[in-house]
């Protein structure tokens, strides 16, 4: 502790160089934390739902629909305790530049299926009563400046025309990975407008016991295997995970970029340390003359490197942790519940530690091994 003055004085030798080095480390770790968080967030969304809910889609592809008649047959299967369905609507609001999910659902069963949607009771009742009502995620209030009771008009893309709804209710998801920016409306209104009833984009099937999931999924798929529309059923978790795998290589790309950047910064820091150490050979010789041991000088230089690395880490990691919630970042809806996880902070800290060791090691060793007399001769 008594050497603190010496360490600080040395860091203050070239304030600009120290500040720039710390900022480089901070930037590298901010980037690292951000990129890693994309991966962790996707992994988290893949954890959503547990195995209590199954999702049944058209086996040919998710862009194809299923007949509504399937509903009753699925409900009749043993182990099925609840059923709902939804239809992807794909409408746009305003200039269409801000994407948000919107779909038509069988409202009552849907809300029962998702207790994670927290809705004030009076709003829930209003939505269920209103045929042209809409339930929106909390984020949409802020994003579009909508208010409860207001009419909003979406432009249909798959189902053309102008579709007007009344915002009756706002939901807050108890699990942030569920996303808070969807708009949901009644299938009755949907059926009416498109003129043909009887289609379901996907079914959500609630089962009694997660352990029965594979068996029930197979029963459903077997039932429709030879029908006009074969089905593919899996747990909601698998369903979400399949979206995450579409990001597939993007995750790898993020990691690679992250690593490359961190490595580049390492070189920068190491270089700064070495430059600084080289300037000080004379002083190091003097300190050794005064009686500072090799080991002590080694430690002092490592501490200097460490101080810069750790300050940079605190700024970068801490900055990332605070920044994203502050701007409510959710990757335009594709990264719901985006946050810098504790594991990212830990790994980031280890990276910073590694940075410190790597950048400080060579200068510290050089200082420790500096031959006094030769170094003094250079000074005088």
């Amino acid at each position: 502790m008594k050497y603190l003055g010496l360490v600080l004085a040395n860091l203050g030798r070239h304030k600009l160089r120290t500040v720039l080095t710390i900022l480089s480390v901070a930037l590298a770790l901010f980037l690292f934390a951000s990129l890693r968080s994309v991966t962790t967030t996707l992994a988290a969304t893949a954890q959503l739902g547990g195995a209590r809910r199954l999702v049944t889609t058209n086996a040919t592809g998710i862009v194809f629909v299923l007949p509504l008649a399937y509903g009753n047959r699925i409900k009749a299967l043993p182990g099925v305790t609840g059923l709902s369905w939804a239809n992807w609507f794909g409408g746009r609001y305003g200039d269409g530049k801000t994407f948000f999910a919107n779909f038509a659902v069988d409202a009552e069963s849907y809300l029962k299926m998702y207790p994670e949607f927290i809705i004030p009771d009076d709003q829930r009742a209003a939505f269920l009563r209103d045929r042209t009502g809409a339930l929106i995620g909390k984020r949409l209030l802020r994003q579009f400046g909508w208010k409860v009771g207001q009419n909003v008009t979406l432009q249909g893309t798959i189902f053309p025309g102008e579709w007007t709804f009344t915002v009756d209710a706002v939901y807050t998801p108890s699990d942030p990975s569920l996303g808070d920016d969807a708009l949901v409306f009644h299938h009755e209104y949907f059926d009416e407008r498109i003129g043909r009833a009887g289609i379901a984009g996907w079914y959500i099937v609630e089962i009694d016991d997660p352990a029965h999931a594979p068996q029930i999924a197979k029963s459903i798929d077997d039932m429709f295997r030879n029908s006009s529309a074969a089905t593919k059923t899996g747990t909601e978790k698998e369903f979400q995970a399949s979206f995450a795998t579409m990001w597939g290589n993007v995750s790898f790309l993020m990691s690679t970029i992250g690593l490359a950047v961190v490595f580049a910064i390492l070189l920068v820091t190491a270089n700064a340390m070495m430059m600084s150490a080289r300037e000080r050979t004379g002083e190091i010789a003097v300190l050794k003359t005064v009686g500072f041991s090799d080991r002590l000088l080694f430690a002092l230089i490592m501490v200097e490197a460490g101080a810069m690395a750790l300050t940079g880490a605190a700024l970068g990691l801490g900055g990332a942790k605070l920044f994203y919630p502050a701007i409510s970042f959710n990757g335009a809806g594709f990264l719901p519940g985006f946050k810098v996880a504790t594991s990212t902070l830990v790994v980031g800290g280890l990276v910073a530690l590694g940075l410190m060791l790597a950048s400080g090691l060579v200068p510290a060793l050089r200082a420790a091994q500096l031959p006094i007399v030769q170094a003094l001769r250079k000074v005088e």
């Binding site: 003055g5 040395n10 003097v286 090799d294 080991r295 002590l296 006094i372 007399v373 003094l376």
Partner: protein, 231 residues
């Protein structure tokens, strides 16, 4: 027993392919409480001798004993610890750490001891007082004149109460007035505080202030002359 005993010391350097012999069997004593000036032409080994006494370098053969400790036989880390409490070194080019204040520079040797913060402060203040720079404690070396810097260096050299003070051309980079101040200080340290001082110098004035002068030429002690009278 003399404070510093040099016995049959040989020292040679390898410069590229050439082997240069600095000392070939040098023997001399330095008594405790003495003020000795080492003079001689360049290359005569004056600075090397100083380094040997300080334990900064090892003789090729022979022994160097300071205050009973066989410096020539100690390991590097032992020497570092030993130097901290036994040697006060002053360089021609002052060699203060530019990032530290005068106070912090003087405090450096004390960081290596077990003294508490308060005890360190006391000693630093005392040392700065003795050299007459108590009011400049918070100044950085760049804010001090040459003479003041050297006096700070001297304060750093005495703060740990070393056994012997070694000074390599202490007035080499100072003007006449500052040189006088520094030499007067050294005399005071020797007379009032009984410090053993060895200075390497070209300056005849400095040699006059010393009590004993040793002449080295090509590694050999030519003559030892005691100063006429004692001031």
């Amino acid at each position: 027993m003399a404070l510093v005993e040099i016995r049959d010391v040989y020292k040679s350097f390898q410069r590229d392919t050439q082997k240069i012999d600095v000392f070939t069997g040098l023997t001399l004593d330095i008594e405790a409480g003495s003020f000795t000036a080492l003079m001689g032409p360049s290359g005569s080994g004056k600075s090397t001798l100083l380094n040997l006494i300080a334990g900064l370098d090892k003789p090729t053969r022979g022994s160097v004993t300071v205050g009973g400790a066989q410096v020539s036989a100690m390991s590097a880390s032992q020497l570092a610890a030993w130097r901290a409490s036994n040697i006060g070194f002053v360089f021609q080019s002052f060699n203060l750490l530019p990032v530290l204040t005068a106070y912090q520079n003087v405090e450096l040797p004390l960081l290596l001891t077990r003294l508490s913060s308060r005890e360190r402060t006391e000693r630093v203040k005392l040392a700065l007082d003795v050299v007459g720079l108590a009011d400049r404690a918070d100044h950085y070396p760049r804010q001090l004149s040459g003479g003041q810097e050297q006096r700070t260096a001297i304060a750093r050299a005495i703060v740990a109460d070393p056994t012997v003070m070694l000074l390599d051309e202490p007035t080499g980079q100072l003007d006449a007035k500052s040189s006088q101040e520094v030499l007067a200080l050294l005399q005071r340290l020797n007379n009032e505080f009984s410090k053993t001082i060895v200075i390497v110098t070209h300056d005849a004035h400095a040699a006059e202030r010393a009590k004993t002068t040793l002449h080295l030429e090509k590694g050999d002690l030519i003559e030892k002359r005691a100063a006429a009278g004692v001031r």
